[in-house]
């Protein structure tokens, strides 16, 4: 009797553990703190519905790239070519519409399936066939694909996209919600389901946790590696579609350096750089954090020179807190 009572009281007075809290809510806490700080500093310009929607719209490309990057990092690898895939699929889709007069729906489908998925699969095949680290392979394809962008566009912007395309993808749903946000969210929801519920999603976590065990357990390691890079390619091409629609043109320099944002979104989102740990919704929040920093600092009037500095500090701080307070880090 007495023992049971004591049990109850210990349960009630269960100590608050910062580690456990941080493990679960680190990303959303950072986002909330950011919004709060900028909200207090600029209540009338930052904290308005219109601006917050704008932040989300600006973040949609980072989020889409981050969603793909997540799968490369989940395997303990990395995909540096996402920015080039984004530019190339955007440029090729634009040319299909402008120069070949293809219907926008057909062009976009080709852009995603052929340019996005296929290029991603090539990355995956190269990684599995050579056994080289994904860093090296995708550093190579990043350069190759960027060069292809210049070749197919002759280093000039492809403009004159059909209005039906840029008005739809670059427009607003019901006149309120920008379509890029809708694209990013739908992608995130599909991938959340994929990682949490599908067998191949589970296998990707297994593969990232221990590739040897995965092979011995009967998981097709090569097929799953190719799948991960294909998803990364598809997400990058979606970012490419959104990008050309928003600008109503395909710029050959589009997305240069964006792979860094993608990686930052994933890492700030709490994914382990060693693979096997991470969640899709947190990548979305990671992408929003980057958007809030850029937008908020602009609002506060901080020179853009300092924005990278803030990003860098935040990245190191977030991962350091994970290392010291994360209760269930896998290397424990």
């Amino acid at each position: 009797m007495k023992r049971e009572e004591r049990k109850l009281t210990t349960k009630q007075t269960k100590k608050f553990s910062f580690g456990e809290y941080w493990d679960r809510y680190s990303t959303i806490t950072i986002l909330a703190l950011m919004v709060a700080v900028f909200g207090v500093l600029r209540p009338t310009s930052f904290l308005t519905g219109g601006n917050l929607v704008k932040v989300m719209e600006q973040s949609s490309i980072t989020i889409l790239l981050g969603l793909g990057e997540f799968f490369a990092i989940l395997l303990g690898g990395i995909d540096l070519s996402v920015s080039s895939i984004m530019a190339l699929s955007g440029a090729l889709t634009a040319q299909l519409m402008v120069n070949m007069g293809l219907h926008p729906v057909v062009a976009v489908l080709l852009g995603i399936v052929v340019f996005g998925a296929l290029i991603g699969m090539v990355n995956g095949v190269l990684v599995t066939a050579t056994g080289l680290p994904p860093f090296i392979i995708t550093l190579g394809t990043q350069a190759i694909l960027r060069s292809l962008v210049y070749i197919v566009t002759d280093a000039r912007a492809v403009s004159g996209l059909p209005a039906a395309f840029s008005k739809t993808v670059g427009g607003k749903l019901g006149g309120i919600v920008p379509v890029p946000i809708v694209v990013a969210l739908i992608t995130a929801i599909i991938l959340t389901f994929f990682t949490a519920k599908s067998q191949s999603g589970r296998n990707l976590y297994a593969l990232g946790g221990n590739s040897q065990s995965a092979w011995y357990a009967g998981i097709a390691v090569k097929k799953h590696t190719i799948l991960a890079f294909a998803i990364s390619g598809v997400c990058a091409s979606l970012a490419g579609m959104v990008n050309i629609a928003r600008l109503a043109a395909a710029e050959p320099n589009a997305g240069t350096g964006y792979e860094t944002y993608a990686i930052e979104a994933v890492i700030i989102g709490g994914a382990s750089f060693f693979g096997g740990i991470g969640k899709i919704p947190k990548v979305v929040i990671g992408g929003l954090i980057i958007g809030v920093i850029n937008n908020g600092l602009n609002m506060v009037g901080v020179s853009s020179y300092y924005q990278q500095l803030a990003m860098g500090c935040l990245l190191i701080l977030a991962v350091t807190l994970d290392r010291f307070f994360g209760a269930s880090r896998k290397n424990g």
């Binding site: 976590y205 946790g209 009967g218 896998k330």
Partner: protein, 509 residues
């Protein structure tokens, strides 16, 4: 005679276990003192206390000419003349013999204001040392990577002599040597004895112990059994003292010799690996039977099992399960056709460190019912929970919750999670490779009982083990492999450690 070293009442605790309990151990000059015990008995721990790697929690180490110490440091241990040659040799393959011997103690000479490396002096000394270990035909400048294992061992002995070792500990020095090489090693050991050095000889091979040993100290489960003169003990005595029980019949059926086994469950005919690591391996497993595979490391046992499981490069041969031919090209195929493998290295190839117990247990079941090689299919948390709960209760897995990470469990419980994974997937044949490696004694016996109950329930059980007492205590039949071939098969009634050890060297009794 005064011992060179005397360890008295050495006690060492590990979290949750006593690793050494009041151990006595001393080494006289000019003797070979054998240290015998099963894996996990505490031999390595005791030697790590001697090398200064571990600090004992109690006891005294007295060293002739130095004094008494409560603990040694690696530096002090070396200074007192203690030299340890580990089973995994610590030579550096890309350095030459001279550099290996003088590593960390380079001889130097003065040349005016400069201090230079004295290569010529070291070469002369190395040549002399090589003569003393019968490696006179090798040059000091030869790269160690080009030497055989036996020769590398001699280089380590030469290194010990070079720095005036008074005690040389050899940890299973003969485990990967041929019979000729063993005799050469013994010749060197006899020379070292004659020079008054103390040799600590750790080995599982009882016939060798009888041949080379003078005294023997036996450990069991971290406890001290006793120290004896080798000629006073028969090999049977040694086994009895080491395991402390009659090892046969422990987990077999009460009247194993009369027990009626069922029909043939699994058959392996003429299995040959393209890389030559398994040659023409044929065996059959009856229902209700546990078949053991004995042999030395590298004899082709694990390699054969990997080939059956589809985890090895291409192999030819015929596999039959319940009379039907199997087609296995990958572990996925093996899983689909009802075969599981509990691998030797849990951490490296067994479970997923980032997965909860629930996920680790459910993964094989999920994969088995998935489509397109694991690419298709939906996971089912409720079903996973049900499977994991069942296995947790059946196997008595000790964990705080099914959502706890498997990497946080003890080795024994991790092994049970892996066992649960295969049970949940409903395998018909389960192959165990060193199933109790690094697992404490209590959990070991639980795992043996589980394996026996699998066999009783009609699941084929094959065990690869390097611990002969384990095989003798568990199996109904034991096949011995050497050089990629099965050299002998014994029913448990006729199997002995001596016969197994002999067949493992390639001879048959």
């Amino acid at each position: 005679m005064k011992p060179i070293i005397e360890m008295r009442n050495i006690t060492k605790y590990f979290p949750g276990a006593i690793a050494l309990d009041n151990i006595h151990f001393d080494v006289q000059p000019g003797e070979v003192h054998v240290l015998l015990g099963e894996n996990g008995a505490g031999k390595s721990t005791l030697m790590k206390v001697l090398s200064g790697a571990y600090t004992p929690d109690g006891g005294v180490i007295a060293i002739d000419g130095y004094g008494e110490y409560a603990k040694l440091s690696p530096h002090l241990s070396a200074e007192c003349g203690i030299s340890i040659i580990y089973q995994e040799l610590s030579v550096v393959n890309w350095l030459n013999i001279r550099e290996n011997i003088f590593m960390g103690h380079l001889k130097t000479k003065k040349a005016g204001p400069l201090t230079l490396v004295d290569t010529a002096g070291m070469n002369a000394e190395t040549a002399d040392l090589l003569q003393r270990v019968n490696l006179g035909h090798r040059q000091p400048g030869t790269e160690v990577g080009a030497l055989s294992i036996s020769e590398k061992q001699m280089v380590e002995i030469a290194k010990a002599i070079a720095f005036n070792a008074r005690i040389i500990v050899m940890d299973e020095p003969t485990s990967s040597l041929t019979e000729d090489e063993v005799q050469r090693l013994f010749a060197i050991i006899r020379q070292l004895k004659a020079q008054g050095k103390g040799i600590v000889f750790i080995s599982h091979k009882l016939s060798e112990i009888a041949e080379i040993g003078d005294r023997i100290t036996i450990l069991k489960d971290g406890g001290y059994v006793g120290t004896y003169n080798v000629p006073d003990l028969t090999t049977d005595d040694m086994v009895r003292l080491m395991v402390g029980r009659e090892i046969k019949g422990t987990y077999q059926h009460p009247a194993a010799e009369q027990y009626q086994f069922g029909d043939v469950l699994f058959e392996c005919n003429h299995l040959t690996r393209r890389d030559g690591k398994a040659k023409d391996v044929s065996f059959a497993l009856r229902r209700g039977e546990i078949l053991g595979f004995s042999g030395l490391v590298g004899a082709g046992r694990s390699e054969t099992m990997c080939a059956i499981y589809g985890a090895a490069p291409k192999a030819e041969g015929e596999l039959l399960l319940e009379g039907k031919p199997l087609h296995i090209k990958s572990p996925y195929d093996a899983l689909q056709q009802g075969i599981g493998l509990v691998t030797e290295n849990r951490r490296e190839t067994g479970f997923f460190p980032n997965f909860s117990n629930r996920r680790n247990i459910a993964i094989a079941y999920q994969l088995k019912k998935s489509s397109f090689g694991g690419l298709g299919g939906i996971t089912n948390d409720a079903k996973e929970k049900e499977l994991a709960e069942l296995q947790r209760d059946e196997l008595q897995i000790k964990c705080t919750s099914l959502e706890q990470l498997t990497s946080q469990l003890s080795g024994g419980n991790q092994q049970k999670v892996i066992l649960g994974k295969w049970m949940a997937a409903g395998v018909k044949l389960l192959i165990f490779d060193e199933p109790t490696k690094g697992i404490d004694v209590g959990t070991k016996s639980e795992i043996y009982k589980l394996m026996r109950s699998l066999a009783d329930n009609g699941i084929g059980v094959i065990v690869v083990s390097s611990e002969m007492p384990e095989l003798l205590g568990l199996c109904d039949r034991i096949a011995v492999m050497a050089g990629g071939r099965i050299t002998a098969t014994y029913d448990i009634g006729e199997a002995t450690e001596e016969k197994l050890a002999k067949a493992a060297t390639g001879e048959t009794a």
